[in-house]
Symmetry: C3
């Protein structure tokens, strides 16, 4: 290694700057009431959130991202219980970073095997314990029912950070936040805006990230010209879960399906790709025959979203191209979580403009 070259490089693509968050901030008018109402709400599913609540959350996230050093104490004196019974360093650190940036303290559980749960303690009793120890719980578990089992006993709010194959609501919010940062007019109420074509590479019925993303997409049908679900032949019969397609269509989203990604790419504005599906303690890979790279026939101004971590489906040669919005998406997830956590523990009034 050349020891003369160990300075870090702070140059970064525009997606890491503050121009996009500032534009998003301007595109939404503040209405703090929607944020104040999130106080003491559990966050289990995207279904809980209205379009306007989401808009206000994206606005607050954009305010945080546009002024990363301005709000350092809203969570002072608050304690987060970060319970990752299904280990996930990426998601855990994203939540913990969000909490620390706002001045709060954290207690982490990173291994289910060392807990009373392994000895047969009920999740209801664990929740009782949490009531005494902290002000908010972030839960990741491979059992999709764990969060429900805790709800009945909790007197502090809990946030679902991925429950088995079911949902991952803050991931979906972060996905949507990235999309609106990219083109803020999409989140506005402007009826003349240019709608987008979104391709989703994956199996909505099997992947919690895709399931949650489609749920949140259904709140913003006015932004979507068409949704194209791109899947392998073998998954055709199990593509959608019960009511999944109906929920989207009744919201007004036009859906098509395809098994030929490269045929679809030239007309897509956004490509959402993910290949991993968590199933209990293990995972399956779907659609590994689909691989995006700098050689893919993408529109010049198309962007790619990916919840990360990635596998072979997303080539690193895309990282330095303008198609790369997945890094911005990961970065924005921290600010989105900051916004949501602030509201859940009754501190929204410290950060909204007009109280």
């Amino acid at each position: 290694m050349n020891m003369n070259d160990v300075s870090l490089h702070r140059e970064r693509p525009d997606v890491c700057g503050d121009a996009h968050p500032k534009a998003l901030l301007r595109a939404v008018q503040e209405d703090g009431d929607f944020l104040l109402k999130l106080a003491d709400q559990h966050v289990v599913s995207v279904d809980q959130f209205s379009r306007e609540t989401l808009r206000q959350l994206f606005r607050l996230a954009a305010k945080y991202e546009a002024n990363p050093n301005r709000f350092s104490t809203p969570l002072q004196g608050k304690i987060l219980i970060s319970a990752f019974y299904e280990p996930s360093t990426r998601t855990r650190l994203s939540f913990e970073s969000a909490w620390h940036r706002l001045g709060g303290d954290i207690m982490s559980i990173t291994d289910r095997s060392t807990t009373g749960i392994a000895k047969g303690e009920s999740l209801s009793d664990v929740a009782e314990m949490f009531n005494n120890y902290g002000d908010c719980v972030v839960l990741r578990d491979n059992n999709e029912h764990s969060i429900e089992e805790m709800l009945g006993s909790l007197r502090i709010p809990i946030i679902n950070a991925g429950n088995g194959a079911d949902e991952h609501p803050t991931q979906a919010m972060a996905d949507m936040y990235a999309l609106f940062k990219w083109r803020p007019e999409l989140v506005s109420d402007d009826e003349q805006k240019q709608k987008i074509r979104i391709g989703v590479v994956g199996v909505p019925n099997k992947m919690r990230t895709v399931r949650s993303f489609l749920k949140i997409l259904s709140k913003f049908p006015d932004a979507v010209e068409e949704l194209v679900v791109i899947h392998a032949q073998g998954n055709a019969d199990e593509l959608f879960g019960a009511d999944q397609r109906e929920q989207l269509e009744s919201a007004g989203i036009r859906i098509s399906t395809s098994q030929d990604m490269n045929a679809e790419l030239p007309r897509l504005d956004v490509v959402y790709i993910n290949a991993i599906s968590w199933e209990g303690d293990t995972f399956s890979t779907y659609g590994s025959e689909f691989q995006l790279s700098a050689a893919s026939p993408l529109k010049d101004d198309a962007i790619i979203l990916h919840p990360l971590a990635r596998g072979d489906e997303l080539s690193c040669d895309l990282d330095q191209t303008p198609h790369n919005w997945y890094f911005s998406q990961a970065r924005g997830a921290v600010f989105l979580r900051m916004a949501l956590l602030t509201c859940m523990v009754q501190r929204a009034e410290r950060v909204i403009d007009v109280v």
Copy 2:
């Protein structure tokens, strides 16, 4: 799940309110000297503590619990080393929550296998290391001699959070604190107070929680009309350890034993139950033939204490009854530990009324 019902419910039984802590606070007159003397004291055994020191600790715990948001900075700048070589999420989080609520920082060790100890490093050397890194150590280990091995090298105070089958002094303090919260007159010096009958379901010779609880009970013989040890037939010969029964009786506590829990229940004011005994890396279950439930013949105003986590010996159908003081006990443990930790690291003067 009904997504319209994900608000949390803050209604809670009175045991979580502030009426009881306030009553306890009034029942004891402050004498801060007893707390100031705890500065730089290790906490290994209940035996170290005088009756009056305990009374003052309970008073400070009650002050914290009655004003949970009033004291947020007494441990500012102090670092806790939370060393759980025997994993225990419940106890670890209770200590860590106590420390965080007072404004301190924490470094956690949750797994012995990743430490130098696993590679043969002596505990004396580990203690030397701790001297340089923090201001206080909380140690949980399945070897009862570990804490002694550290004492010789430590220049910062250490607190025993359970050493094998030996002791768990802060658990006993939390047990007693719950009992005094329930009926504050018991901690007063009033000679006319109504004494209580306490049943302990377990094997004092085998269980660290019971051992420590009986030790602390012997400091308050004026509160106890009778102690009934309820045990299975098979444990009759090993019920008490050396001097254990003698220590209680010489303190003035009348003891009886029984193998028929339901026959005893109608005349007990307090039932202390626990079925698990830690033995090295594993645990045994004692008295699983005894099971308390809402159908048990409890006195109307009897309370149940349990150090948790629970097994089949304590039915969940008791949770919503007034007999449930075990949740209050778990909650109070945080405030009790706050009181003790404050004193150990020389910050008592920041929280006592008159210095």
Copy 3:
């Protein structure tokens, strides 16, 4: 255990006091520019550091150690990612204590098996994630190339806390800091100072601690009369790596080798001993035939350094002798790391005297 004797003893040998750091502080004149230039620098190897930068770092470390409670907020609002993919409680806690003492927050990774890396995620992608979550990374890994793989993607500074068998630069700095605390004239530019004879028991080609220590020694040849490398017969052929001996000699350090420790001891001022060499996931022991004890023929005023944890090569009967500077060395490592971390995250201006 005698329960009357659980107070801790704060008496400590002079090596833990503030006399030595204060003397070192006076021996170096402040030149803050060298510290300001460390902003946003990665720390991979001792080779990066000039003699004068090291002198200024030692000075700042001494300022911290001489006034341990004076600087409690320079890292307020900063988040450390403490990534110990190769578990090491000692080094992890030393870094985390340093960060906490300066008021920063921490997120820890203590187990590689729970991370995305175990699932095949590239270190480059992990580094991208870290950019969004923290302000500085401390990395320990058993793969010596891991840190290089991260460098290309990082926009926050990273510090090498041990990369396989390669280097451990902050350990070397802590070693040298201990040596200069012991005899501050050695760090001065005084040409009349009394040079020292240093014996190193170990295999420079195999041990990262020894490799890094010799690198830093080569920056201060004016302090060294002679360097004696003491090794077992079996290691004679592999004692030095490529250029390792040449680097020292071209810096002006006279080197000899020996296989008879006791014959060398009577003329050594400093003995640096270590027996463990990390090799991937495991370790080898070198030179276990060499054992220092209170019976060894040490000069009266000779000191012993050891990076710890120790094995049989360093007898505990030396702990209470004036030869013991290895405890001071471990203690000083915290302050040395405080100095380096402060500079890396652009907070040097908050602690230097003249800005």
